[in-house]
């Protein structure tokens, strides 16, 4: 693991822990659950095979929100998420690579039109993820980094207790550790439906 990557991961982990502890101390303003579809693919200079295509996946988890005021809030999410990519290896054969992560995005959120029933929001923030497993058609993949770090940006609408999000997660770390100097990261676009309890 490179020193730069390690520093990024440690800083993000500390930020997540501090924010979570702080929010706990002052009380959450809301809890909820999220479920959605995502489409992910590999990005980077070392795209394998003859090309890559998006891999569909599932995202499922929960969130807790801490409101500073009517507009600004922090949202901590814990999500089970599938990432990956399809790789065109030989002929018209596409290898489906699926990576399973527990991902924890910490999002700074701005909500607009708070007086209306239909509210909109934008958010951004870091996300750390722990790898559960990675596999494709031929078996389990080895030499995959056991954690990942990414940056999330997105927006959505809320009505009553329901929400609909569209977000982009860009990986910041190379996940492939099978050789030195490989540039291969995750990129995921997700559509999530949420329900605040």
């Amino acid at each position: 693991m490179k020193g730069k990557d390690r520093r990024r991961a440690i800083l993000c982990s500390v930020a997540l822990i501090v924010s979570t502890v702080g929010a706990t101390a002052q009380g959450f303003s809301g809890l909820g659950a999220k479920l959605g579809y995502n489409s992910s693919r590999f990005i980077g200079a070392d795209i394998p095979g003859k090309g890559v295509n998006s891999q569909s996946g599932l995202t499922l988890g929960g969130f807790a929100t801490y409101e500073f005021n009517n507009t600004f809030s922090l949202q901590q999410e814990v999500l089970f998420t599938m990432k990956g990519s399809r790789i065109n290896t030989v002929g018209d054969v596409w290898l489906s690579n699926i990576f399973l992560y527990i991902e924890m995005p910490l999002l700074a959120k701005a909500t607009f039109f708070t007086e209306n029933r239909l509210r909109s929001n934008v958010y951004a923030g870091p996300a750390v993820a722990a790898l559960i497993g990675a596999f494709n058609n031929t078996g389990f993949l080895e030499d995959i980094r056991s954690y990942d770090l990414g940056f999330v940006i997105g927006g959505g609408v809320e009505i009553w207790k329901l929400s609909l999000d569209l977000r982009l997660m860009k990986g910041l770390l190379n996940f492939d550790r099978s050789a030195d100097d490989i540039d291969l990261k995750h990129q995921t676009i997700s559509v999530l439906m949420g329900y605040a309890f």
Partner: protein
């Protein structure tokens, strides 16, 4: 949407089947010193494994094929490995069959090659004697069936993996002293990182690290890469390509083997063996693993469902000149004493518990006696091909040489030429 459903299904498949898919197979070879060996595991839930022997005929070499029967007689026999009398061996494994890898739809005759109205693998086994000749055939003719790939080995130690590349057939020659093939394209070296097959890695590592090779070592490779689960390793075969010796293991039980020689089988004429019928769950128990025993008397112990066994023990691992000792001449199998125990228990229970209802007691007593004697005299019924034998055999041999390494095995003595053998075990006598 289909993509989404597929990814969910793939996840479920991986989690629940843990890589055990229909048609997974492993084929491997090594050429070290003057030995050329080949092996193959068939991982398939079809347990109707068969061997077909076809003597030489006009324009065709004699050959043996092994595979499985589809359930409709000899005509449905699917051969997946075999060897001819010229020392040409082949083994096939699945590739783009929709299980290990998706089906390829882009394969076609891009270069307008001539086609044979005949299976090309069968053709080369009939008329070729070397890997170079096989390559010439596959290069010349278009072969439309590429849901698998093939490893060919000849008696000179040459080997090649033949599969369909981007636009044409490709030949992957051996670079080291061994070659392994599972269920991903060996020619696609650019994406080797994404083909992470544990069976390939295990076999490749074992063959790379071995200084010397033997059929026993190849047996251990088959054992190391075998699968269980819903699509288990149903048939394992090890071939000595130079001598024509062939060893067959059933349902990943590597303690019992059927040993054949290609040339002996060809001399008998055309044969079609239902291989499961010949296994007797033979398993050597003691002494094993090179343990030390007293030379004054060694009591050999093994299990097996055959009535009689020949015990071979020798200081030579090939048992050259060893004189067998037959068990039926010495010790009755434990099964008889089990039957006698059942009889005794029946007498005691009925005698103690039933004084008033004498007629019923006598009837039950008679049934117990008949059952007990029947259990002594009929062949043990194996309910499942996978159940270990409960029949234990013993034989004591005296006055062995002190401080000597010995090898031993037992061979079932039954009518016919195909006989179940235990794997070869070792022990050492003390000084």
């Amino acid at each position: 949407m289909n993509n989404y459903i597929f990814s969910i299904l793939l996840l479920v498949q991986i989690v629940f089947l843990a890589c055990a898919r229909a048609g997974d197979c492993t084929a491997f070879m090594a050429a070290k010193g003057n030995k050329v060996l080949a092996g193959r595991n068939a991982d398939w839930n079809n347990l109707s494994v068969r061997m077909r022997v076809l003597p030489a005929s006009e324009g065709k070499y004699g050959r043996v094929y092994l595979g499985a029967e589809g359930g409709q007689g000899v005509g449905s026999f699917i051969n997946t490995t075999g060897m001819n009398d010229q020392g040409l061996w082949y083994g096939s494994t699945s590739l783009y069959d929709g299980t290990a890898l998706p089906v390829r739809n882009d394969i076609k005759n891009y270069y307008n090659k001539p086609t044979l109205n005949y299976d090309l693998v069968q053709k080369v086994m009939e008329v070729c004697s070397t890997v170079d000749e096989v390559i010439e055939y596959f290069a010349e003719y278009y072969y439309p069936v590429w849901n698998g790939h093939h490893l060919f080995v000849d008696r000179h130690g040459n080997s090649v993996i033949i599969e369909f590349g981007e636009k044409d057939v490709v030949f992957v020659r051996r670079s080291g002293d061994h070659q392994v093939m599972t269920n991903f394209p060996n020619a696609d070296t650019l994406n080797a990182r994404w083909y992470n097959c544990w069976r390939y890695r295990t076999a490749d590592c074992m063959l790379f690290e071995s200084q010397d090779i033997s059929t026993e070592f190849f047996r251990s490779v088959c054992d190391a890469v075998h699968q269980g689960g819903k699509n288990p390793t149903s048939l394992s075969t090890v071939y000595d390509v130079t001598t024509g010796d062939l060893y067959v293991y059933y349902f990943h039980n590597y303690e019992e083997v059927l040993a054949f020689n290609l040339y002996d089988e060809l001399a008998k004429g055309e044969q079609y063996y239902s291989l499961p019928d010949y296994f007797r769950q033979t398993r050597a128990n003691y002494p094993t693993g090179g343990e030390s025993v007293s030379p004054s008397a060694v009591t050999f112990s093994w299990n097996g469902n055959a009535q009689d066994y020949d015990l071979y023990y020798s200081t030579d691992p090939s048992f050259t000149g060893a004189t067998p000792v037959r068990t039926s001449d010495s010790v009755a199998p434990l099964r008889s004493s089990v039957g006698f125990s059942v009889l005794c228990i029946g007498v005691l229970v009925l005698g103690a518990g039933c004084r008033r209802r004498k007629r019923i007691c006598m009837l039950l007593y008679g049934l117990v006696v008949i059952s007990a004697f029947a259990s002594c005299n009929i062949e043990a019924v194996v309910e499942s091909p996978f159940a270990p034998s409960s029949i234990e055999h013993h034989l004591t041999v005296e006055n062995l040489q002190p401080n000597t390494q010995y090898y031993w095995k037992v061979i079932a003595q039954e009518p016919g030429d195909v006989r179940s053998e235990s794997s070869v075990q070792t022990f050492r006598t003390t000084g």
